[in-house]
Structures are given as structure tokens and as C-alpha cells.
């Protein structure tokens, strides 16, 4: 894991001091709410429906045990004993008092964390494959580059007042678990014909009211030129991105209006003018960062563990959890253990302070001190020896963290919606809970198989509904909440945008409509065919017929 040196530590501490001064000026009345707004937003502090909300950055989703323990401490001391993991691998606290926020930021700085640029029209937290560095299919760990981007984008003098927010995601694997095609910039580690490692660069993906899949602007970029190429992209966007309409201000609209070819031409022209030796970090600096991500002290273990194999054979509950939660690791004898934050009927992504402490303890004892947050609002213990998996499961089960539902119908992404968010037009959490309860029986979930349901409480699409196999969008008309259902979206390497199935539903009707869609799929699927595969084969018609015949 990356560790702060004196430079990073002072940078973050300076920022806390500066914000403490700004908060004091706000509370003392020297700063109006209007003047304070952009200042607090750049430090991750929102004013929501009922209270302030502080969003803490978890760079590329990687955390240590002591960091998670500190998050638990913050939840207990300044909030109501829980936190909410978001679709940007961040965590947010929903009830902090303004006067406490500088202290919270100081507590975060104590464990090398911050809330810089988790909101505002700037470059947001860079996300990555949650299995970076441990996935069996990975070419190279993308996190050193994500860390480089984190540093470079922090208080960037040129790119802190962009037309709109800006999100970068990076993956080192061909299998896309970071939804890179739905990002402003998506980076994929790729080898060129000479076998050198570099990046494929995608630009202009996004969700919101205009979902667009990113265009490929560079088939291969030498990896040491990453920052200069990003600078060129950002400059073209900063100068030419639309500022007349906030719904047309994301880079996706610029790419779309110019056309990918012309946009690429402008980026390349800007890139040709960048003084590479001045902008590019020295090789020693890249090596310094990469060193922190060198593999932790793995033991040499046999690929199979007899204890693990025996438990799988004799304990069906363990075997069924293992089926959804445990994934192949690149090192023999180890596994990636995924933890569902989606108990049936629960709030997606919420974790109590007690759960956070348990996970921190588990990470320390069983996962070489590492924890990951996923953009699907779950957590990961990335380095568990196979012989320990059963013990880990027992401890997870004790604190309600052993739901065997990852990748299943109840593993729902949901934004906070109208229960918290000032932008929301409808509630999302209760809809998610109702679907989860309706379809949550284990045998029912297994019957349905792979399924990604994603729910947003407004057109801004924080719940990624466009990329849901079944997407649900909450809207409001004449004071009434209603929900649009989309089908066939996907955020993986074969990204697609869901298509609206037809007229909307009331909140009460949604679970039934979802179940009708699912039963229709079960009725028409071929042997072994997932919902998404079936949908791509048959199209929307059978689903439309079933859903609207029933109403």
C-alpha cells in the first residue's frame, strides 16, 4: 500500500489547517454560505436535505486496517455509528456537525486519509479495479498509476475549476471491473506489439441524463507519458467544454459534439506542445510509488488446501457463501474474499462501526493488512490464505457480513436517494430493500443467477442505473414518485446502456415488475444463459409484453 512521506503528510495537514480557518470564518459569519460553498465542496463537505455530509476519499479503494478502524472511530465519535460506502469507492458520513469537520479531517490525516476533491467541479477520486494487484487475470497492478494521478490531480492549479466534475478510472485487467467505459477518462493497461506496457485511453463516457460509452482516443500510450497525455485531455476540456448548461458540461458532450476524431486531433495537437521532460515525473519517482505496491509478503503455499477443501465438501452454508464471495488469487494458496454489504432488506453500502472494526481485525489477522472498497458498494479482503477462509467466514457471519449474494439479484447498487440527498427526485433505498426482500430467498437467488440491479433516485444516475442489467430510475411527476425501468445495461468490457422498457411504475409496483421481468427471463433462457445474455439474444419485446400485460 502507498504510505505518505513527509511531503504528502504536510500537504494534507496544510489543507486541514486552511479549511479549519475557513470553517471558523463561516461560523463566525465572515463567510456567507454562498462564499463558503465552493470552499467546502473542494473538501468533500456537502449540505444535504437534513444535515452536512462528509465524503472521505478512499483512493482507488485501497485501505489498511488502521484506516478502517479510524473510519469506525469517526462514525462513533462524530456520526451515528455507521458509514456508507459509495460507487466511487469512497465512504460518506451522513450526520457530521460543521464545527466537528476540521477535527474529522485531522483524524483522517492521522491515518493518511483526506476528503480533498470528493466533490466540486474538479478531478474526483480516481477509482480502480477492486482486485488490483491480486486478480489472476491482471497484466499489471494499476494502482501506482492511480496514485500518481491522485497526486497530480490534487489541487491542480489549472484544472480545479472545470466545467463539471471529472472522474478517472483505471484497470490493469482485460476483464473490466472498474466500469472504465462509463468514466470521463478510462485507462486500461495494455501491451503494444513490442510487448511494452502502456495504456489504452478512453474518453467521454458517462451516465447522468445522457449516458454515453467512452470513445477510444489512444490505442496505446507509453505509461511514463500518462500525466502529460492527461494534461492535454484536461486542457482541451477546460478550454472548450460547455459552461452554458450544467447538463451539457461533462466531457462526454464535448467529445460527442466535436466527434471523437476531431476531439482526438485537438488532444494530440495539445499533447505535441507539452514539454515532456518538465511535466513527466522522473523515473525514480515512478519507481518510488510503484515500490509501495510491490507484492506483500506472501507465503509459498500449495495451490490447494485440504482444510478448505474439506469445509467446502462438508459445510453447505460455507460452500454457498464461498461460491459467490471467494475469487481466484494470482498467488497459489491465496484467495480474494469479497464481503457483501447488501444483507437482504438492508441499506446497500452501509457498514456499522462494529462491522468496520471486525473487518479491520480480519484484515490485520488474515489479509496482510489490506481492505478494498468496490464501486459496487461492497468490501474485499484481498489476501486471504485458503486455509483461513472458513475462519474468516465464521467471524463475518457473526456480525452479519456473510450474505451469500455477491453478483446476485440482491447485490443492488443504490444511491442514497431522497432519504438523504438534496438532488434526489425519488427514494431509492426503500425500493432496493423491497426488491431485496421479495427475491432474497437463497434458492430463489441461485435460480436467478448473475444479476446486476442498479437504482438511482434522480437523473444524475449516481446509482449507475444505465449500466444495470435491470436499471431503475426514480423520478417525480406532480408530487408523485415514479420509476422507469431499463434493461440490458452493463458496465463491463462489453459496456452497454440499458433501454427503457416502457411507461413508469409506482414505487409499490416496482418489485412486482422486476419479478415479472426475472420470471420472463427464467422462462425463456437457454441452458446456462445469464439474464444479460438472454436479453441480448431476444431483445426487449418479451419483457415488455410480460410487464405491461400484468398491469
Amino acid at each position: 500500500m502507498y504510505r505518505y512521506d513527509e511531503f504528502d503528510a504536510r500537504f494534507v495537514r496544510d489543507r486541514v489547517t486552511q479549511f479549519r480557518d475557513q470553517v471558523e470564518r463561516r461560523i463566525g459569519g465572515d463567510l456567507s454560505e454562498e462564499e463558503f460553498r465552493p470552499l467546502r465542496l473542494m473538501n468533500g463537505l456537502y449540505l444535504q436535505l437534513h444535515a452536512y455530509m462528509l465524503r472521505v476519499a478512499v483512493p482507488y479503494g485501497t485501505m489498511s486496517a488502521s484506516q478502517v478502524r479510524q473510519l469506525a472511530h469517526i462514525a462513533d465519535t462524530y456520526d451515528k455509528g455507521y458509514g456508507h460506502f459509495t460507487t466511487r469507492q469512497n465512504i460518506q458520513f451522513n450526520w457530521p456537525k460543521l464545527s466537528d469537520v476540521p477535527d474529522i479531517l485531522d483524524d483522517l490525516a492521522d491515518v493518511e486519509m483526506h476528503a480533498i476533491q470528493t466533490s466540486g467541479n474538479c478531478i474526483r477520486n480516481t477509482t480502480a479495479d477492486q482486485w488490483a494487484g491480486v486478480a489472476a487475470d491482471e497484466l499489471e497492478d494499476p494502482r501506482p498509476y492511480a496514485e500518481l494521478v491522485r497526486q497530480w490531480s490534487s489541487l491542480h492549479p489549472e484544472f480545479s475549476f472545470l466545467p463539471r466534475k471529472f472522474k478517472i478510472a483505471v484497470t490493469g485487467a482485460p476483464r473490466d471491473r472498474a466500469a472504465i467505459a462509463f468514466h470521463d477518462i478510462g485507462l486500461r493497461v495494455k501491451k503494444n506489439e513490442a510487448g511494452e506496457t502502456g495504456f489504452e485511453v478512453l474518453v467521454g463516457g458517462g451516465m447522468g441524463r445522457t449516458p454515453i460509452i467512452a470513445a477510444n482516443v489512444r490505442g496505446w500510450l507509453p505509461k511514463n507519458e500518462l500525466l502529460s497525455y492527461l494534461e492535454a485531455i484536461m486542457r482541451v476540456y477546460n478550454l472548450h467544454g460547455r459552461r452554458d448548461n450544467k447538463y451539457k458540461a461533462r466531457i462526454k458532450i464535448l467529445v460527442h459534439e466535436l466527434g471523437a476524431e476531431e476531439f482526438t486531433r485537438q488532444v494530440e495537437a495539445e499533447y505535441a506542445n507539452i514539454d515532456q521532460p518538465v511535466v513527466v515525473p522522473p523515473a525514480e519517482e515512478l519507481a518510488r510509488i510503484a515500490d509501495y505496491f510491490s507484492p506483500p509478503g506472501y507465503e509459498e503455499l500449495p495451490a490447494d488446501d485440504p482444510v478448505y477443501t474439506k469445509h467446502l465438501a462438508t459445510d453447505p452454508a460455507f460452500a454457498s457463501w464461498n461460491e459467490t464471495s471467494v475469487v481466484e488469487h494470482k498467488v497459489p494458496g491465496y484467495a480474494i474474499v469479497n464481503i457483501s454489504l447488501k444483507p437482504v432488506g438492508g441499506i446497500p453500502g452501509d457498514a456499522t462501526s462494529e462491522q468496520m472494526r471486525t473487518i479491520a481485525d480480519l484484515a490485520e489477522r488474515y489479509s496482510l493488512n489490506e481492505i478494498r472498497a468496490t464501486h459496487e458498494q461492497n468490501l474485499v479482503l484481498p489476501n486471504v490464505r485458503k486455509q483461513d477462509i472458513h475462519d474468516v467466514w465464521l467471524i463475518l457471519a457473526e456480525c452479519g457480513l456473510a450474505s451469500a449474494n455477491l453478483g446476485k439479484v440482491t447485490d443492488i447498487i443504490s444511491c442514497p436517494g431522497l432519504d438523504y440527498c438534496g438532488l434526489a427526485t425519488a427514494r431509492s433505498i426503500p425500493v432496493s430493500q423491497a426488491i431485496s426482500k421479495r427475491l432474497g430467498a437463497p434458492e430463489r437467488q441461485n435460480q436467478i443467477g448473475d444479476m446486476k440491479i442498479k437504482i438511482s433516485g434522480c437523473i444524475n444516475a449516481c446509482g449507475h442505473h444505465h449500466a444495470g442489467h435491470i436499471g431503475i430510475l426514480g423520478l417525480e411527476k406532480r408530487g408523485q414518485e415514479f420509476y422507469q425501468i431499463t434493461l440490458g445495461g452493463s458496465a463491463d468490457e462489453n459496456a452497454s446502456i440499458g433501454e427503457i422498457v416502457g411507461p413508469g411504475f409506482s414505487g409499490e409496483q416496482v418489485p412486482e415488475a422486476v419479478e415479472t421481468i426475472i420470471d420472463t427471463y427464467i422462462g425463456l433462457r437457454n441452458e446456462g444463459e445469464t439474464f444479460l445474455e438472454a436479453y441480448r439474444r431476444v431483445g426487449p419485446e418479451p419483457f415488455k409484453e410480460a410487464v405491461y400485460a400484468a398491469h
Binding site: 486552511q18 497526486q151 492549479p157 489549472e158 480545479s160 475549476f161 506542445n273
Partner: protein, 170 residues
Amino acid sequence: MPLIKNGELVADRWQRLDDEAALPGDGDVILSLDRLKADRDTIATRSGETGVILPNSAQVEEIEALLPHLSLIALEFPAFTDGRAYSQARQLRTKLGYTGQLRAIGVVLADQAAFMRRVGIDAFETDGRQSLATWKKALHAITLAYQRGYDGDAATREGGRRDAPARART
């Protein structure tokens, strides 16, 4: 309008010229971009210095050929949140090698001064609402910076300060 340079309030010797007014041969004047383009042939013969207000929607290349005759370029910040001129400043300093005064005009707040300095802006026209003390503090609010190759007093990780950036590209 109060003008801040090098962290001090300074007298402003520049006059903004109305588009309708005759172009004087001497004296230091700031022209609109349209006026500059219209009088492009006469500015070279002036004994006084010439500056221009570059709208933030303009391409810096529009004034590239005239740069040898310009010793001030005013960049517009119509709102706190409109950051186009940061990139214009950067392009003028690096891509086009401009070394004259770069002046921020419009909504120019001390809270953004450190960023402005780092892209090469060296003069700030303010509305006088924030005190000089606030400005002095804000200009040095960022002591460390991750980005390499930008101006300003902030130190990068390598410890380098880039008071004189690589401007003239050959």
C-alpha cells in the same frame, strides 16, 4: 481598481482604451481583442506599450502573431467557477513563450491567487474587498505542489521551485 503584483499593491500605469477612442501613439493602453485586430498594423509603430483583454472564449493562437508587440495580456475570470483562463495562461506561458505581464481581471479572489500564480499570472486586478493582508496570506497558502512544470513558490516533491519556467520553447 487596486492592482496587486509581487504581493504588493502597486500603481497601475495602464489605461483601458474604449473601442471608439483614438489610439494614442504614446502611453500604455489595453485594447479589446477586436480593437487590437483592427489596429494590428499600427501597434508596432507606437512608442507606448500595448496590452489586450483576451476573452476566455478566444483561442490564444488568435494573438500569437502579435505577441512581440504585446507587453500585457488581461485574462478574464467572469466567475469563481469559470476556469478557462487558467489554461489560456498556461498556453501563453508554455506553448507560445509569452513573457510579458499576465493580468487576472473580473472576479479575482485571494482564495484562487495561488492557483493563478502557478499558471503564470503575475498581476491581479481586484475589487478591493479583500485586504492586502488576506492576499499576502493566500498567495502563499499552497507551499507544496504535486504538479511539475508549473510556476509559483510551491515546492514540488523534488524540491524544485520554478520561478523561471521553461517558457521559450525552441
